[in-house]
């Protein structure tokens, strides 16, 4: 059966937000097998075969009716994991950049009770990006570090592990859009008093598909993020429920 019983000892779930990743999703799901966890794939409005391939690969698949953004997919995945009784969740990309073998590294500080949210840092293990992107990522990282009172070098990493407390309080406040789902989430975690720790992980080259955003969209998301950050500096961060 594709659904595993999470009522017994194993309470780990892997959440994989996916947008048009039919080429790589099966391999990602298979790579999670050694973790002995239910793999929850959230299809964020793909126009390809992602959902079907994921289902055939034995994942627990949820489909958003239209493309909402990574944050929404992750949020849905976290809620699904919670309803299946999971007490810890690893979130990883569907394009094969994140290595499931590193999930245990991420989970280690969570299980040891040192943090509620572990972030897999690519910079800590020789990740290379262009100077402009690097400049922006460093700014984000510094801001997150200051807010969280811990050193974060890679605030935009989507490879993360959530402990029970994070699972309980974060989904309610989870932002929808790209970049918000990573950077803003850290600020929200700080606000909620969650402990965050960074763990070095090695990134692999993406196994297929292509980046979801072109230069134009990236610039838009960056501008949007700067606005969000400025607002949060002013203490105006949105708290009103829809």
């Amino acid at each position: 059966m594709r659904r595993r019983n999470l009522d017994d000892v194993n309470v780990l779930a892997v959440v994989v937000p996916a947008l048009n990743e039919a080429a790589t999703i099966a391999a990602v799901i298979e790579s999670c097998a050694p973790l002995g966890a239910v793999v929850i794939v959230v299809d964020d409005g793909s126009t390809d075969d992602t959902a079907r391939v994921a289902r055939l690969s034995g994942a627990d698949v949820l489909r958003l009716p239209y493309n909402l953004g990574v944050g929404a997919a992750v949020r849905v995945g976290l809620l699904r994991a919670r309803s299946l009784g999971a007490t810890e969740v690893v979130v990883m990309d569907a394009d094969g950049q994140h290595d499931a073998a590193h999930a245990s590294l991420l989970l280690e500080p969570v299980r040891a009770g040192r943090c509620d949210l572990a972030v897999g840092s690519r910079f800590a293990a020789g990740y290379r990006v262009g100077p402009a992107r690097r400049f922006i990522m460093v700014r984000f990282a510094r801001l997150a570090s200051r807010r969280l009172g811990t050193t974060i070098t890679d605030a935009t990493s989507g490879f993360r592990a959530f402990g029970a407390k994070a699972l309980e309080v974060l989904p309610e406040r989870y932002p929808t859009e790209y970049l918000s789902d990573t950077v803003e989430t850290l600020l929200i975690a700080a606000e909620l008093g969650l402990r965050v720790e960074e763990v070095p992980v090695v990134m692999r080259v993406r196994q297929g598909g292509r980046p979801s955003n072109g230069a134009f969209a990236s610039a838009y998301h960056l501008g949007r993020m700067v606005t969000v950050l400025l607002a949060s500096l002013l203490g105006l961060s949105g708290r009103r429920a829809p």
Partner: protein, 124 residues
């Protein structure tokens, strides 16, 4: 009546007619129509009270038409701001709904899976 007054009266009347037509064909909700009608009426009052506006303009040292235009610009800006606020709230709601829908659809599939197993239907 100056030609400007006549022109503005016609515009205000047109807005009122168009808005009422939108309400009739259910393309515009009455509560937003109210807003437009209020603007329309406000415009009419403004037109009739042009001498008053001129007087205000004289007092603060600007010429009539530019003060009138400024009023319009401020009003439209406020209107636009109000609409984006409203749009934001709607977007947040539809996003949450879409997410709820995905979760509920999955729950239904869960139930269907269990029924399939219990019913002993042929399923690989």
């Amino acid at each position: 009546m100056s030609s400007l007054t006549v022109f503005l009266l016609i515009v205000a009347a047109l807005v009122a007619v168009v808005v009422l037509e939108f309400v009739r064909t259910k393309r515009l909700r009455a509560r937003y129509a109210l807003m437009w009608i209020a603007i329309s009426v406000g415009g009419l009052v403004g037109v009739v009270a042009l001498p008053l506006i001129d007087w205000v303009a004289d007092q603060i040292g600007v010429t009539g038409p530019s003060l009138f235009l400024l009023t319009i610009v401020v009003l439209t800006t406020m209107l636009g701001m109000g609409l984006t606020l409203h749009l934001t709230r709607l977007e947040q709601r539809t996003e949450r709904l879409a997410q709820e829908m995905a979760l509920l659809r999955r729950r239904i599939e869960d139930v269907e899976d269990v029924e399939d197993v219990e019913g002993g239907s042929a399923r690989p």
